[in-house]
Symmetry: D2
Subunit: 329 residues, 4 copies
């Protein structure tokens, strides 16, 4: 799969110089210091109580959608950097329940799980990515994220925040094929995001949680993950960094492994938009969300906004978390 | 800590005959067949879209509360039945981020977790407890919950459902000491639940998710978990089974290890109310929730209802799930 | 990779009827009852103290060889049936050791691991495989191997036994290519095992632990594991079942994923020799051993016998165990 | 349990100044540089092939002893620093084996484990403990032991080495009560080690693997672990550091949680002998070994030497490993 450099070239970047592009972009969009030196929330500062009123006002039918992919061995991981699919095992079953270990005929089953926090539908926390050793707000990454976990911006700091107005941008339907799926390596640009919103009749506002559907997960369900979920995929162009900043959204999530287009638009490169979004914007990124059912419903009724609660597990010091996002329309 | 049998004796049960009490109660409150032979949702059938409209209408200020306890090694588990506290470890830190393994100065950290699904703030799924080998809806537990997981009522079936109107009943404040804490072994009765609701000026309605605060977690935070979270605790009396049925609530959660009073009111006994609630009512039980911050806010403004989203992780076949419940007022 | 049926056809089996072949072979070689109804050791009964004297007498130079493959993320697993490579993570590092959490300048690091017990160099215990619901010695598998583990023949019963005389049969060197490697799907027959032993000038005796090197691991090191370690491989023909019985060896191990030739010689089939060896012979099978260094040494000095200690971890109820077998020559 | 300072006071140390004692002792016994700047084996350099001949010559009866405690939920851990007991779960059982998922009646069970590498019978590797940020051989701990593991002295470097002559010193029988058990907080001195050896008629020689039985594990089996295995225990006095150096032993193991006496002899202090033994001597320490069965046999026949194979799992980068040590007499 070849790299699509059209968007970054149009924006004036040299595809062979990702480091320059990252530095120049970071300088333009940085939120460092915007919420004070002690901030641990980043763009979640923009997800205010008022946004939750706005979100609650979107509830019209009460229909709910889980935006989580299944957590099981059929998931996208193949062991890269110790990222496996979840290993869920039982500590009891209905067979053993009949054995009378407990009194008065009660029986039960427990279970355990071992999983990378980045194994399936997830949030990247603010301690997940660094730029030249700098974590969110300009901090020294080595002081913040240690072997004990993220001492400052652990995902627990976001535990109560990720509920508000959600907006779906269905890029797959707007720009993709007859099935509503974008091809791999397709970089979605800021102009396209604006056009999709306009076409859907929905407005992107400060503090929103934006969900961008590319259609890749629909194709994956049909055809399998192939070699690895981190392979080629449609996704956000690096050039959307300024859109992410300008709109003031609180978080963004996609139905792909890594939010941004793969292969990345520079060469060599590894997730350069992450390098802007997390440490410089303080933006929460959601990955591997299942947006297909929600998208069907939005296409049917023409309403692309909803109340979205996407609460990470309150794991002390985690740099990410599995999540089961719930959209209520 | 001695067993308090007052409530079950008043209800005409023999404290030495839990099996009779369970059988008689199950016969009175059973929901088997109520939603057809194939049902996998139990009382979540009562949590309708209309309930989410009702829940959304409770949102007035947009303030949010995470009802999750921290997931870390300071948690309540000590290894009983292989239930440990979560073991969260890092696959990268800010130190190593400086090493230049990746291009253009990007660095990052991942993490993994190994944990029992019942280790902290959680939902019990419908496959968690059986009565004499019968699972929810009268099914043969041995056919439903196997070593691969719950083949029929795995927690993933509930993934999209647990959002709606939440109601807090602050039993600790209503019945407890000056700190708003009930003593261990205190059995909360149905009459008391009704009195608390009346005193708070809130109505319990069909399809609600009810949160009962006993105050034990507040004490635990101050004094530590002691030997084990499964030790003595205030909680629901076995005699509330009919209240749980009559009210038609969709789910109930407490700030204790096991929802029901400990020691259990019969002798010997092990969680007899679970034996009714899960396999016979099909009721979702939430355990080890942190209701203290929410309770403060409710006491302050006198509003005990809110929009509650408590989405389990979508773990295929799980009989329970960690959860970060989010209340929005 | 096509199935090689030559050996089973020569032995009079119908490649389309594995069930008949298994039944007929089991009838001929069964050890059920041989060591009494309560036996939990199987062929380890033949690994007597006298064998350890015999093994110790093989020690001439004191050179040692670890026969274990590395346990890390570069291993052979890709998630089939939740079999992942081991996930090893740190609870401390040298960075944090400088922080002064502990007194007088002491610092340290711990680590944790999550892994399938069958993930790399391992022993299959007697509870690992069943024939039509029968476990070793004719027991009902459902009563022996439960969700709590193997209640009777857990690997802990073998904890002190697996030390004795080891013999290497280097099939790769004897039958393979210039590199000493057999091609995938090559079924090694009983006659070939005898010829290899004769050619090496070593005798196979009752109670021996036999190591069969095919050379596949050497190729794997050079070329990678490919799709999955459970793919095509050289290995024992199903027809060696009687050799395994007749020789009275205590255990057998290979440098492949599954001891027997892959694809298996029947179609359809899944590890039919396991179905004889474990439940009927009570034979311990070792898989994914690294025999290359030992084989070099044996080829150099012409001595193919040694003292072998291959102690499983004493994991209560386990049906297998990782192992670091140590050969001393 | 009060600290017994008698041994360190007799040796001229100030119980309030552990840092001085550590520094002075390290200066006297350091092995830094002894085996060159690149050494990763420490005192395993002294465990030569000749020692294995010596060990093999100790084999007289062929009787074997597993020196491993059981790995299960009844173990000594309670979660301190995320150290839990092992969590062993099944991926299949004998029930499900009857379901016909596989052809020709084969069925089977797999299992998984999650555990700290320091949870039960184990070796401490050379990356486990540091002195003021210095790892074995004077290296910068921060460069050696990182989040990826021990890059230089990972336990895999020792994989083939830990087999040789083992010697039991039964301090419990020699110095303890009628049951052969030393009381908690009893510091075993170098003179006592020499006296025990003399009394047993066994010589401690360079390159030996020495096992010191205190009897604490026998008491633990009878009375339970109590609060934590890391609580009070008999063990080596800090003052044995010079004995460990002078004798030139390759490794030492005890039947206690932490080799050295607990509470430690200084105040405040944490495992000061480790701080000498691992980073300065390069000595492998074995902990929580079960020496009781072996001790019975040695007492019966008066022979306290044996062939000992104690092979760590070959976990790349691990700073310790579970082990099932096998003594053959």
């Amino acid at each position: 799969m070849s790299t699509d450099t059209s968007a970054i070239v149009a924006a004036g970047f040299d595809p062979a110089e990702p480091e320059d592009a990252v530095a120049a972009t970071a300088a333009r969009v940085s939120n460092w210091g915007r919420w004070g030196p002690d901030d641990v929330l980043g763009t979640l500062n923009l997800l205010t109580p008022a946004k939750r009123l706005e979100g609650a006002a979107c509830v019209r039918t009460g229909a709910t959608f889980s935006l989580s992919q299944p957590f099981d061995e059929a998931g996208p991981q193949h062991g890269w950097r110790k990222r496996t699919n979840p290993v869920h095992t039982m500590l009891g079953t209905g067979h053993e329940a009949l054995d009378g270990e407990f009194p008065h005929g009660i029986g039960g089953a427990d279970d355990v799980i071992a999983m990378p926090l980045q194994c399936s539908t997830q949030w990247d926390g603010l301690g997940h990515i660094f730029d030249h050793g700098h974590a969110w707000n300009g901090r020294n990454a080595a002081e913040v994220v240690r072997v004990e976990g993220d001492l400052l911006t652990g995902i627990e700091t976001a535990a109560a925040h990720l509920a508000g107005r959600g907006v779906l941008l269905d890029a797959g339907r707007a720009l993709g094929d007859a099935r509503g799926e974008l091809p791999d390596s397709y970089p979605i640009t800021a102009d396209e995001l604006d056009e999709i919103a306009a076409g859907q009749g929905v407005e992107i506002r400060e503090g929103d949680i934006v969900c961008v559907r590319t259609g890749q997960y629909a194709r994956t369900r049909r055809e399998g993950w192939g070699g690895y979920a981190g392979g080629p995929a449609p996704g956000l162009s690096f050039t959307t960094a300024e859109w992410l900043h300008r709109t003031g959204i609180a978080a963004i999530a996609t139905d792909t492994w890594g939010v941004e287009v793969r292969p990345n638009e520079f060469e060599p490169a590894f997730q350069p938009l992450h390098q802007i979004a997390i440490p410089h914007l303080g933006l929460f990124l959601g990955e591997m969300w299942d947006l297909d059912g929600l998208a069907e419903d939005c296409a049917a009724d023409g309403r692309y906004e909803f109340f979205l609660t996407a609460a990470p597990l309150r794991i002390t010091g985690a740099v990410g978390s599995p999540v089961n996002p719930i959209a209520v329309k």
